[in-house]
Symmetry: C2
Subunit: 370 residues, 2 copies
């Protein structure tokens, strides 16, 4: 496994050299994890002119990274003594000592205050911007990563499936969310990928809804969105149900529109397709069905070590899909005061010749009346 | 309630004026919440030269803040149209339009990238640093805030108390943590204040330990640290138990030392006492008992809208306690491979004449063998 991390660091080194930077400082937690594996909270990675160093404020609990002579393919570990030091500042100081004239940092992660402290600690080092170089490396997942995400998808499907077999009416959104998260962990997830969304009745389909004490009632739309974290890799699934013997006509009409839009989005996933195209075809279906207003800015997004990562499937997104890029397709419509529908899958982009996108979240998308 | 927020914003205005800043931009989520109440995720507050404006990327779900004519004591609400705008950038632009020559921003919150975007959007506005002005305002809690924290403390105590009545041997750390979080919500918490820590056997007392699949065994130390979130206000409690009929001698010795240290810390809490003093007396007790090595950098910290806020009780902390400042006192000792002890209370600093510090977390600190 550590060869994988070493290879990723080597690729980043090559990118930095090509961009004219002698050294780089990676501080964003998911990026540090991508390049080093599990590290103590707050640890930063210095790709230095002389050596790679992981700088942490505390000793890691578990191997492989521990103080002592480094293995050839591991970064040296430096643990700061004492209280309140910022590992990023110590790393900048190290880079200066090792003779770096410039240091590329993640300006989208470091606060202004931390950046100033780096500059003060290493005044002769020119601070440049690494930009989203590591996020770009993370876009295309290898087999091991996709395997973890596949398992995360199974765990989410399992938890959801079990919940649907239980009685929902009368239970609060909060309770159902916690129940789902417990089942995720019971089945082997490291935890939920994000705070589980359960939205009933007028709350259904509302973007960013956090579970409340509203109880599920007959006639409600019920939207559920959950995700599992398996070895750091995430996967999310979202479904909409109707509570009661059968849905009302307006509910069927809305559901069919969102289903069609989401299917259009899924079918648009192929290597070389522009991000904004996937978003556009989804929006067009919703607009044609009369639900074009008040849609969310984003049809889907990448998934990996973070539940929300590059790429973003939005109208203004630049870039094209590649094979082995996992994304969500999650359009939704919310009608304030009435409810709404959201349907959300995680899929891995695959060549058409290989059967098209690989669906990681297989819970049925048929509208179930529960 | 909105009068409370208006009064807080007025105090911040006064501070800014005194510091020579015509306008301020508050972006740190807990700070925005302190000044405005519950707002959409990512919303920022502009205290402008002409008006106060809450800038958000999405419409709030619930009153009182909604688009339309503002009430006299509410900031105007501006919701950005479309996809990917940064509310902070829009706020800086507004400040410029309203004639601000300078804008104090939270340099410890804004990333370099966001700060650059603000500068580009409002090039004639001089960006200054607001520093931790809002964190300072948040230090001393009013009765309503303490009341919420009191309830949060009760909820944490309740959840913990219930768990102790159940069978623990054979259950994993992860399961116990999830069980505690479920009970917190069952009893009325909005959620856990932070990821619950359950650490058994060799993991016990380890700082920053996240629950694993290790099962509780007879003879273990078991350390539990949990917190409740009630209406945004948090409270945390931490206790250590021994599993089995009775503790071993080394366990009693270690527990007594940490208990004595924590008691010394609690008894040091009074208005006017230096932060570093509280930390020092706690460390001294542990050092005198032979456990002075490898202690953590921080004996305790403030609690409020965030589980970890100003002040910090560390050896180098500057400042003194005030009445109505809630803090934790949470020393611990971890012996790698063997286990450890952590005892953690949340208390509100009160004058000696009023009976000394008010303890919010009343679960017994006697060493229980479970």
């Amino acid at each position: 496994m550590s060869e994988v991390y070493a290879a990723r660091r080597a690729r980043l080194h090559d990118q930095c050299t090509a961009a004219g930077s002698a050294a780089a400082l990676v501080s964003r937690p998911a990026n540090v994890r991508y390049l080093c594996g599990t590290v103590p909270s707050g640890a930063v990675l210095l790709l230095g002119p002389v050596q790679d160093v992981l700088v942490a404020a505390e000793v890691p609990a578990t191997p492989p990274l521990s103080p002592g002579p480094p293995r050839a393919d591991e970064p040296r570990l430096l643990v700061l003594p004492g209280a309140d030091g910022d590992p990023a500042v110590a790393a900048a100081d190290l880079a200066a000592v090792d003779g770096a004239e410039s240091l590329a940092v993640e300006e989208h992660d470091l606060t202004v205050a931390r950046h100033r402290a780096l500059g003060a600690a290493a005044p002769r080092v020119r601070l440049a911007d690494l930009g989203r170089a590591v996020e770009q490396l993370r876009l295309i997942k290898d087999d091991e990563e996709i395997s973890c995400m596949r398992i995360a998808g199974e765990l989410a499907d399992q938890a959801l499936g079990e919940l649907l077999e239980s009685i929902l009416v009368g239970r609060t959104e909060r309770h159902l969310a916690l129940e789902l998260e417990r089942r995720l962990v019971d089945h082997g997830a490291d935890g939920p990928a994000f705070p589980t969304v359960v939205a009933a009745g007028p709350n259904a389909g509302r973007p960013g809804h956090l579970p409340t004490d509203r109880r599920v009632e007959e006639g409600d739309f019920l939207t559920i969105c959950l995700g599992a974290d398996y070895r750091g890799y995430r996967c999310q699934v979202g479904r909409t149900f109707v509570i009661g013997p059968s849905p009302a006509d307006w509910q069927v009409e809305l559901y069919d529109a969102v289903f069609a839009a989401q299917r259009a989005g899924r079918e648009a996933l192929s290597p070389g397709r522009a991000y904004r195209d996937v978003d556009r075809v989804t929006r067009q279906v919703l607009a044609a069905a009369g639900f074009g207003d008040g849609l969310e800015p984003c049809t889907g997004h990448g998934v990996g070590l973070e539940i929300d990562e590059d790429p973003r499937l939005t109208p203004s997104a630049m870039g094209k899909l590649d094979a082995c890029v996992p994304v969500t397709v999650e359009p939704g419509v919310h009608l304030p005061g009435r409810g709404g529908v959201r349907i959300d899958d995680t899929l891995v982009v695959r060549p058409e010749a290989d059967g098209g996108p690989e669906l990681l979240t297989i819970t049925t998308k048929e509208l179930l009346a529960l």
